[in-house]
Symmetry: C2
Subunit: 387 residues, 2 copies
């Protein structure tokens, strides 16, 4: 195998488009130079579109977890109550963050692989009227579940003043998010998933009512104090040194999203999800989630007659094709396929063809080509024909 | 469609491996600095392996055509006779070059899409005993034919002292060439095909008996005078300014070929050829060449019930997948698929899946997936299993 031939299809980090790589290779500039201010100013409208918000989108040098922690420490004080919805590893991370900051957690854990039910949260809020925030995971990367965050926001707002906080790490950039319309109060994401960038940036947007809560909170820490980022971005700058190369890359990634159109990007991701699901279904290989809960960006497969880990290792060795293992309680039981960001329907057909070869190589009887054909049928039915 | 998503599957230029791109992005250095001498010295053993020769491989800043012209003007003088075998556009180019330099051409044109027959050349040499050189095309890029150059060399050497000259542009780097063993006198190639580099370099190797002829030739021109390149490369330098970035890239491309192994690289190309041929055959779509004459690097398809040009345009528009049109007398009648260099069996499966979608989109009844399955069967039978 040619050593450079690698297909990175884990649910993040994801491959970087060549034009984004080129943008990141620009010469370094001073982070307080006007060129950096201009870049931050140029980036803002595109980021707002991706989030579906009129608020400023704050840019922080840090990973997605920094975003989760910022969401928690800015909105909820030590000793206050929060509901944390755990539908997988990243929901569990929200809980750990809250506990690390002395927040009282009311935990709602779903079956892993299932979406949460907003009505359960309604009941919990009625039981715990002092809850200040509800922490949710928009796309649970560990299970491939897309959760109904818009519906959650509607339900929470009906019965409580609790803020609705969503971790959008593995989905923002791959869906048509409407933060303002849906009533989300804090939405955070990372750079290394559907945003088509390397890891190293997190983005956060905050509603007016959440800003009121945050401003009144005297204990927001320092590096992750979102007020500092808000006040700085209004001046087209950042409170601390920004990751300049990643900003150049972000500018180009937003240009790519803009050129394709956010709605078209979302449609591409849904199409890729439907193709990949149809392929595994054609072979009778179980998917972890229902169609309704299936994320447009990541799909978890739970094989019942071949070993997930052996398969992962085989396709990586033989084709340079990397997919992810299960996490937490799903470790060793599933494999997870990323189909987000710099990924096309053609790339999905390629992975399916290689999955089939890998399954055949692993010794399972399989009618190769059948999954590709199923995915091709989905494409021909749903894929938009280019004029 | 995401604008960066482009699949370049024309028979050259071909995609550049990321590690080669990174190598070419190294800072510029002086072409007479010792770092450039070291680079030229380091490159030489790898290039010799690719050519299958103990001779120095000369490196010239120029396109493949510069290589064809160098082969002609160095070995044959104005007014001397040569046989030119024309099995497509690039054979025809050799003829034009010879005529431009006042060489008397005895032309042997095959049916385009068929390989030449060395026995025909034997007959021509018997008829024209004054012939100084036989010009042949190893892989005819315009038809996807691989010609029997080793057999040609054997036959020519049996009946004549004529030099055997081969254009290896679209195949060297994708086969296990054995220039010395086969008895080729001049073998030239370009950088932008199976060598996995951008266009801009041509390579030439010359046998001892050809050097004798060349040295005795008083009229070798200047820029393409191969003696100058030979004398320079012995000092690890070049007579004129070399394309330094391409040399950095070449060093890395040779490293990739070395890591994979030249025999393994050749086997990968044969496998890709067999997969793509099986796919079109499964659909009953005619190939231009016989299996025996089919090149491991480029395949020409001659559809009989859909329009080649409309199909090419459709798959480029809808999938960003570029294949080449026909040239010369095959214009509009065929399309040509490059499967060389930075290309894997997985990439071949991807193109087949997209070809099927394109044919379906073009309105032809086609059982999508059938060609992919046929190619997958070839892979499972012939593809070497990675331990």
């Amino acid at each position: 195998m040619l050593q450079d031939q690698q297909y990175l299809r884990i649910p993040g980090p994801t491959p970087i488009p060549p034009s984004v790589e080129r943008a990141m290779a620009k010469p370094m500039v001073g982070h307080r130079a006007s060129v950096t201010d201009d870049l931050l100013k140029k980036i803002q409208p595109g980021l707002r579109k991706v989030f579906g918000t009129d608020q400023d989108v704050l840019i922080v040098a840090g990973s997605g977890t920094a975003g989760l922690e910022a969401a928690a420490v800015n909105t909820v004080r030590r000793g206050e109550e929060a509901i944390v919805i755990v539908s997988g590893s990243f929901g569990a991370r929200f809980e750990k963050i809250c506990l690390a900051h002395g927040i009282i957690v009311h935990r709602y854990e779903t079956e892993w692989g299932e979406a949460f039910e907003p009505e359960v949260v309604r009941g919990m809020l009625e039981e715990h009227p002092g809850v200040k925030a509800v922490f949710s995971t928009y796309c649970e990367t560990s299970t491939g579940v897309v959760n109904p965050v818009a519906e959650l926001a509607r339900v929470v707002r009906e019965v409580s003043d609790a803020l609705i906080i969503a971790d959008g790490v593995s989905i923002i950039g791959g869906v048509e998010a409407k933060m303002d319309e849906w009533g989300l109060d804090v939405l955070v994401t990372g750079s290394q998933k559907a945003m088509m960038l390397p890891p190293g940036l997190m983005f956060a947007a905050v509603s007016d009512r959440a800003w009121n809560v945050i401003e009144a909170n005297p204990d927001r820490g320092f590096y992750l104090d979102l007020v500092q980022y808000r006040d700085s971005i209004r001046e087209n700058t950042t409170p601390f040194t920004p990751a300049v190369s990643l900003l150049y890359g972000l500018d180009q990634a937003l240009t790519l999203l803009e050129e394709e159109g956010i709605a078209e990007v979302a449609a591409r991701h849904e199409l890729m999800r439907d193709m990949i699901r149809a392929a595994f279904r054609a072979h009778g290989i179980p998917l972890l989630t229902s169609d309704e809960a299936g994320s447009p960006t990541v799909t978890a497969v739970r094989p019942d007659d071949f070993d997930a880990e052996g398969f992962r290792s085989l396709i990586h060795r033989e084709f340079g094709l990397a997919v992810a293992s299960g996490q937490g309680k799903l470790e060793g039981k599933i494999f997870r396929v990323g189909h987000m960001g710099y990924c096309s329907p053609g790339d999905v057909l390629q992975m399916i063809a290689l999955f089939e070869l890998g399954i055949a190589r692993a010794g399972k009887q399989i009618e190769t080509g059948k999954g590709v054909a199923a995915a091709q049928r989905v494409y021909l039915q749903k894929g938009e024909q280019t004029k």
